[in-house]
Every structure is written in C-alpha cells, then in structure tokens.
C-alpha cells in the first residue's frame, strides 16, 4: 500500500555566489491520511526547504530540484515535482495546504481576515462573497476564535500572535485539504498557546482525516502528537522511525543529543539537560564523511577514521527504523550505557 504522500530522493539546491547550497539532500519520507509525521532538526537543517518543494513554492529560476514527491489521489498518483506548475497550483490550498513559521508576517496587512479566508474558499467553491464570509466565520469558530461576527471583519494587526496562527490554520483548512504541512506553527508563540494550537491541530486531524507534516526544531513538541519522526541534519535525514522507537531507542548520536536537550519526565534523575555543542555544517561543500562528525562524541569510537572519510548510509537498523551512522545498534547501546554510568 502506498501512502498519501511519498517523497522519494528529493534534493533541493540553490546556486549562489558562494557556491551551490545543497539544502535538502536525497530526502525520502512518507505520510498517510490520518497520520502525523514530525520533521525535526536544528535551524538550517533543510526542513522548510524540503516541504516548500513539495508545495511547489520555490522560485523555479533560483532553485534546482530533483527527485519525486507523489501525492496518491483517487485518480492516481501525481508527482508534484515534475507536474506542470498549473497542475500543482490547483492542488495548493485544496489537496495540500501549508501554514507558516511566522504568523505575524504571513497574513496580508491590508485585507480583513474574513476577506483572506473567503478568498481561499472562493478559489475552489462557487459562491458569493457573502457565502465566503459565512464560511470564514465557521472556520474561525472552529479554530476557537471568540466573537467571530465581529472579528471576521478585523485586520491581522488586531490579532495576537496565537490568534493569528489560528487564523492561518482556519485559512489553510477552509477547503478541507488532505495534507497539511505545518511549518513550526508554534515556534513564535508562548508555551501555553503552543500546546493549545497543537491540540487544536490534533482535533482537526481526527475530524477531517488529514495527513499532517509537523515541522519543528523541538522534539518535546513531537511526543504528544506525532506518529513518526524524521530527524534532519545538514540537509539529510539522519533518522526515520516511529515515535516510540525515536524516543526509547534512538539509533543515531544526533537524535540522542536532541533527546538529551529536552527535559523528560520519564528519565528524571539519571538525566542531565544538555544542548549539543558546536555548529551545524555549512551546506556548501559538505564534508566527505559524516556531517555530524565534528560534533559527535562517538566518532572516535568508530574504527579506521571511517566517520571522517565516509558518509554513512541511511540503513534500516531494525524493522522500519532507519538511521544514518557507522555505529551498529549494539555498539551505540554500549557507548550510551557507558556514558550513563559515567554520569552517575
């Protein structure tokens, strides 16, 4: 069975004056209807670039894209990477929708929120402007905005950050899309609003049986909502596993580092909170070896300087659990156990 979205060997690069920026490098992942895939990674790891390519939102003149991204519609699969721009445009907003990182700047300052939602609705529905506004009110109500009769006519600057993100969600969902890409929908918001928005998305997903791709740099956010996790580093996927495997059996040192940098209730006591030291790699001229090597505490444990010379493949280390590391599962477990006892 193929899943609703299947991204295969997707690479995105930008030719710049300093050289070619390889922002997404041989990315493959899939997500099905009703499922949530989390894409996690530091700033600059290529999360947005990858998914903007799926939406067809890169400037074709300044971007090179290879690979495929199939959307499996009832009428058959469509590869949105190679499909004509007009075909992809007609899928945007209806088949696939996206909400963006910064709700402050993602709405047009000169149009009322009702106007903007009605515009999205009008694109795929025939109806008067009044019908569009009625639908806008329905959506605003659905995403938990109070007093919609008044607020539908208000402008983005009259809404708080959390409320604007709700407006964005309302707009993205107005045509019942099958796939929703949420690019760090909560990063700009404070913690309580964050969890409200995530709960809202989860509820709407059940209601409409959507596939959701949740992009975030915070693994903590992922735990409550995701079914599967892709961890990205330096433009590549370094680990791809179910949520349980990711949290309880991480097989890649970078994922381990990410997990260590979030406070966890279940491992309280034995756990020290630590961020990963060092800088992410430059995406121009990637090193020959493992991109994480300069920051990896286990690189020296791999025989023959392999981490420096050879980039590890994304191997299936155990059933349906992919990781990119020269260490075998047992080796990593041994090293982790040693670390833990050292900490005590």
């Amino acid at each position: 069975m193929s899943k609703f979205l299947e991204v295969k060997n997707l690479s995105v690069s930008f030719p710049t004056e300093d050289g070619v920026v390889l922002a997404a490098n041989d990315i493959s992942y899939s997500v099905d209807l009703g499922e949530t895939l989390a894409i996690v990674g530091e700033s600059g790891s290529g999360k947005s670039v990858t998914n903007l390519a799926v939406m067809g939102l890169h400037n074709p003149q300044r971007t090179q894209i290879t690979g495929q991204a199939f959307i499996n519609l009832e009428s058959g699969p469509v590869d949105v990477i190679s499909a004509p721009t007009e075909v992809v445009r007609r899928m945007r907003g209806k088949t696939m929708s996206m909400i963006f990182q910064d709700p402050m700047s993602a709405l047009h300052p000169y149009y009322s929120v009702g106007d903007q939602i009605a515009e999205a609705w009008g694109l795929y529905n025939s109806g008067s402007k009044r019908d569009g506004f009625a639908r806008a009110k329905e959506m605003l109500d659905l995403v938990g905005i109070p007093d919609v009769d008044k607020r539908v006519n208000e402008f983005p600057h009259q809404f708080s950050g959390g409320m604007r993100q709700r407006v964005m969600i309302a707009m993205a969902l107005v045509n019942n899309p099958s796939l929703l890409i949420a690019d760090e929908p909560t990063t700009a918001l404070d913690v309580t609003v964050q969890s409200q928005i995530l709960q809202l998305l989860g509820g709407l997903q059940k209601e409409f049986n959507m596939a959701i791709i949740l992009i975030t740099h915070d693994l903590g956010v992922v735990a409550e909502v995701a079914d599967r996790v892709c961890v990205m580093y330096g433009g590549r996927i370094v680990e791809n596993a179910s949520i349980d495997e990711t949290f309880y059996n991480p097989l890649q040192p970078y994922t381990v580092g990410l997990l260590n940098s979030i406070p966890r209730v279940d491992k309280l006591g034995s756990h020290r909170l630590s961020a990963i030291p060092g800088q992410p790699p430059s995406l121009i001229n990637l090193p020959r070896g493992c991109a994480f090597e300069p920051r990896c505490q286990f690189a020296s444990s791999v025989a023959g300087n392999l981490c420096k010379t050879t980039n590890p493949n994304l191997d299936e280390k155990s059933t349906d659990h992919f990781a990119r590391c020269h260490l075998s599962t047992t080796q990593l477990h041994q090293l982790l156990a040693k670390n833990e006892s050292g900490a005590k």
Partner: protein
Amino acid sequence: MKGCDRLLKYISRRLLYTLVLMLIVSIAIYFIFDWLPIDPARLNCTKQCTPDIIEANRHRLGLDVSVMEQWWRFIQGLFHGRVYTQGAECPAPSFGYSFNRHECVTGILAEAFPITLSLALGAFIMWLSLGISLGVIAAKNKGKFLDKASSVFVLVGTSLPTFISGILIVLFVVLKFNIVNPLELGDWHNPFIDPVGWLKTFFFPCATLALAYAATYTRFTRSNVIETSSEDFIRTARAKGLSEKVILRKHTLRAALAPIVTIAGLDFAGLLGGAIITEGIFGLSGLGRLSVKAVTETYDLPIILSTTLLASAFVVVMNLIVDIAYAFIDPRVRQS
C-alpha cells in the same frame, strides 16, 4: 459601523488641522514679503520721487497698515470682495488687484490655472501609468532584457533635465517635423470644446514633464514590487493556490503601490503651483510663468502673494487628501 465613525472623526480632525495650517502659512507669507528689502511703493515711483508720492503709493497699494492688517484685509477680500481704489473693485473671492495690469488678480489666476492644471494633470496621468507599468514589468523580469531596458530609461529620465529634454522636443518634434505650428505653440484650447487643439498644445509639454517623473516612479515601483514579492504574505497567497496574475494584482501591487500614493500626491501638488521651466519652454502662460514674470519683471506683489499662497495651499490640501486616502488603503493607519 464603528470603523466608519472613527474614519469620519479622523477626517474631520485632519480638516481642522489643515485649516489652521493654511492660516499660519498665509500669515507667514505676508511676513516674509514684508521683510524683503524691496519696497513696491518705491518701484512705482519714477524720477521725481518725493516722500509724498511714495506715501501716496503706499496708501494706494494698501501697504500703509500693519502686516496683520494687510493680511486681514486679504482674508476679508477672499470672502466679501474688495474695493482697492476708485474703479478697482474685485468681487469675492478676491486675491487682490494688480496695479500693473489693472486687473483683479482672481481673473488673472483663473486664466493661468487651467493651463497649469492641464499640464500637471496630463503629465501626472502619463508618468503614473508609464512609471508603474514599466516598474512592474522590470520587477517581473528582474535581471532580464526588459529590466535592463527599463533601467536605461530610468537613467536617461533621471539624468536629463527638463530644460534639455524640453528644448530637444521643441526643436525636433515641434519645429523639425512641424507637428505643431510654432506660432500656435502655447495656445490655450478648452479641452471640452476643442480636445484636439488642447492635445496639440499640451501633449509635448506633458510628455516632457512626465519623462522626468516617470523614471523615478519606474525605479520606485520596481524596487517596491521586488521587495513585496519576497514578503511572507505573498508566499501565503501562493500557498492558497492563487494564480500569479491574481497574486500580482491583488496582493503584491496593493502593498507595493500604497507608498506611491504619498509621493504621487505631493509631486502633483507641487506641479499645480506651476512648472516654471516647462511652461517657459513651451510658451504656456500658466501659474509658473505668471509668478516668474511678477517677480522678475513687474514686481507685482499681489500676484506674487497669490501664486505663492496658492502653491502652498495645493501642497497642504494634497497632504490632507493623501492622508485620507492612506487611511482608506491601510487599515493600520485607520485604527490608530
């Protein structure tokens, strides 16, 4: 309808503010001309000048009272008309009486203004349409041939002063190719009665002025469209599934052109006060030439005062119009 209420309040507040500003400006103009080291009463006095004659002149010209009193009489004249000397009576609204031309200034202005308005309006329409469309085309073809071609236009337009482009146009288009009879160069034709004649007189002067302005507007539009195109809300519009045409028309231009309202309004207002060089080259008897003549040849104080006052009134009133227009365009202004 609370938003409407707020808008009305905003407009009336701005109206009041404009009125006060106009009063201050007019008083200031009276004081400035009083300070100037030129005495009109002395200018009108030939070889056998005696203090008595000067005094009589001063009285005749209405300069023998305080500046504030002169100003007040002027304001009264505007509303009630005024008798200057025997036989020199001007009905309201009176801008004064020109003793040089033995005419009411209002009549003189009424003759010159349609010419200046024709020139300004024609040029305004030309440069806005040309500048904005070229700017949009350049932005959409950034880095390609059309963009480069438009940047040549911008360079020529901004570096060629109107006195050169105007003279070139007069020499070539008008004289060499004889499109307009040189003897009829500055003739006034009412556009509602004789549109073709009007066009013959005004097309080339308008084009001369428009050329200079269009270049600036091309550059401005281009950079604003490019900047707006990279805004997040444009990406949102694209993510909704809107076509590029709708995105440009409804989303990009709306945001990119809003700031143009301000400069376009003020540029237009500036021209309404008179385009001295262009009027001179094409022999148009508009407000610009009227002022120059009044200053350099006749030192006709009532005319100078009126044209100056008029020019500043255009700017002040246009400021008001621009502000109100902006409140309609930008909801963030409306609400604050």
